[in-house]
């Protein structure tokens, strides 16, 4: 009888001793965590995409509570999340404009002249080092670095060799913008639908020769909408799309190559 009692009692006593010790230590060494931290972390999307510049949602929540990041720092959550966080922290949420990634190139396989036959590593970054697979040094390489970088499956490669962004899935985190070696991807306000679909800084005659859809810097759009579009470095840039009234949108159709125009919204 004692052979079994001794181990039970000793082990039980040991266990009890440590349990009481730990329970006491837990109380004694308790570290108080800011209760807002948990709430803010809960309000964030928890996608851990890093779009805010912090290494994950938890880190952003800490920065927000410590006042090192503003309540609208999460580009993914948008207005709704910013408002909830501002409420928790008791601060005013600044105005944030929802942004969406846009593809600024229309150099499809058909429109752009090819340059050799690229058989290397299937990545835009690698292809860019060799000058790419198209005559145009500014156009989309079509190897899908942006699609692979997207953490929200909001992008896909079309058969014509260009990527598309699904507007309802795009959160504007900017991963594709980072991934693209040629700056084809850029975040634009979601409401803006008139864009210049070209990044070519080549002179008109050259640009026209190597791509059917390139901006050839003819200047028609800049003349029609002087407040909205400017011409610089042989490329049209939209400075303020609100200066293009809806009833005059059809004037954009004068563009000889279709490099400027309204984007087709894809969901």
């Amino acid at each position: 009888m004692t052979e079994i009692l001794i181990p039970i009692v000793t082990m039980g006593a040991l266990g009890l001793f440590f349990a009481v010790g730990l329970a006491f230590a837990n109380k004694r060494f308790q570290v108080r965590v800011d209760p807002r931290l948990e709430k803010v972390a809960e309000a964030l999307p928890q996608a851990n995409c890093g779009g805010c510049g912090f290494p994950g949602c938890q880190a952003l929540a800490e920065a927000m509570v410590n006042g090192k990041a503003s309540a609208e720092s999460c580009p993914v959550g948008g207005e709704e999340v910013a408002r909830r966080i501002a409420e928790i922290l008791g601060v005013e949420a600044g105005e944030i404009v929802a942004k969406i990634a846009r593809v600024h190139c229309r150099g499809t396989l058909k429109a752009a002249r090819p340059r050799g036959d690229y058989q290397g590593i299937p990545s835009c970054r690698a292809a860019d080092l060799l000058g790419g697979n198209k005559e145009c040094r500014y156009g989309c390489l079509g190897l899908g670095d942006c699609v692979r970088a997207c953490p929200f499956e909001a992008m896909a490669m079309k058969e014509d060799g260009l990527p598309v962004v699904f507007e309802n899935k795009c959160t504007g985190c900017g991963k594709c913008v980072e991934a693209c070696p040629r700056n084809i991807m850029e975040l634009r306000p979601a409401a803006q639908d008139v864009l210049v679909f070209c990044r070519s800084l080549d002179r008109g005659p050259i640009a026209r020769k190597i791509c059917d859809n390139a901006c050839i810097a003819c200047g028609i759009c800049a003349r029609d909408f002087p407040q909205a579009v400017i011409m610089e470095n042989f490329l049209a840039w939209i400075v303020d799309d609100t200066k293009i009234p809806a009833e005059r949108l059809s004037d954009l159709g004068k563009c000889p190559t279709g490099a400027i125009g309204r984007i087709e919204r894809i969901r």
Partner: protein
């Protein structure tokens, strides 16, 4: 002299990772970067020494007097887990920077077989208190040495042209095996 022999023996000859194959899990898991590997090594050394002290005390003051050595495994697990928990709480309260530095590693080590191995081996070899502590320090130093060497090799491996089939865990295990063979060369040092 005996203490020195135990120390060198546990660092080089009976290295915990490369001779006993204990603690392989962190050895492969946390050996991608030298810095993280070193932190892990320091944390393991710390817990090993702590364990050496605690397990010796439990063994000599409770288990042996009551003739309960067959309960060693259970008792050691209990003691080690509670102690590490306690240390974690203590460090978290008293030194946040230290907690930040090794906080993630501490709970990982609690249930590591190297810790358990140390407690059992020390009692098997019937070391006295000083010998047990030196054995713990040596085992920790040996683990740190092995994991830092491994991390250094793996940092270089990142740049090497490894065949597709060997990438990742495959080449890591091959490297570990070759390192174990190299350490086997030390076994002639002590007769």
């Amino acid at each position: 002299m005996n203490l020195l022999l135990i120390f060198i023996g546990s660092v080089l000859i009976n290295n915990f990772v490369l001779h006993y194959f204990l603690g392989i899990c962190p050895f492969l898991g946390v050996s991608k970067k030298i810095k993280a590997a070193f932190s892990m090594g320091v944390a393991v050394t710390f817990v090993l020494v702590l364990t050496a002290v605690a397990s010796w005390a439990i063994n000599h003051w409770i288990l042996i007097p009551y003739d309960l050595q067959y309960l060693q495994i259970v008792a050691f697990i209990l003691v080690i887990a509670s102690l590490v928990q306690f240390v974690e709480m203590f460090v978290r309260k008293t030194s946040p920077p230290l907690y930040q530095a090794m906080g993630i590693y501490l709970p990982l080590i609690t249930v590591n077989c190297a810790i358990m191995g140390l407690a059992l081996l020390a009692s098997l070899k019937e070391y006295d208190f000083a010998e047990t502590v030196v054995f713990g320090v040596g085992a920790g130093a040996g683990f740190t040495l092995a994991i830092v060497l491994m991390a250094a090799i793996r940092e270089q491996l990142e740049l090497a042209d490894v065949p597709e089939a060997f990438k990742g865990a495959g080449i890591a295990l091959v490297v570990a095996g070759i390192m174990a063979l190299a350490f086997l060369g030390f076994s002639g040092m002590i007769k």
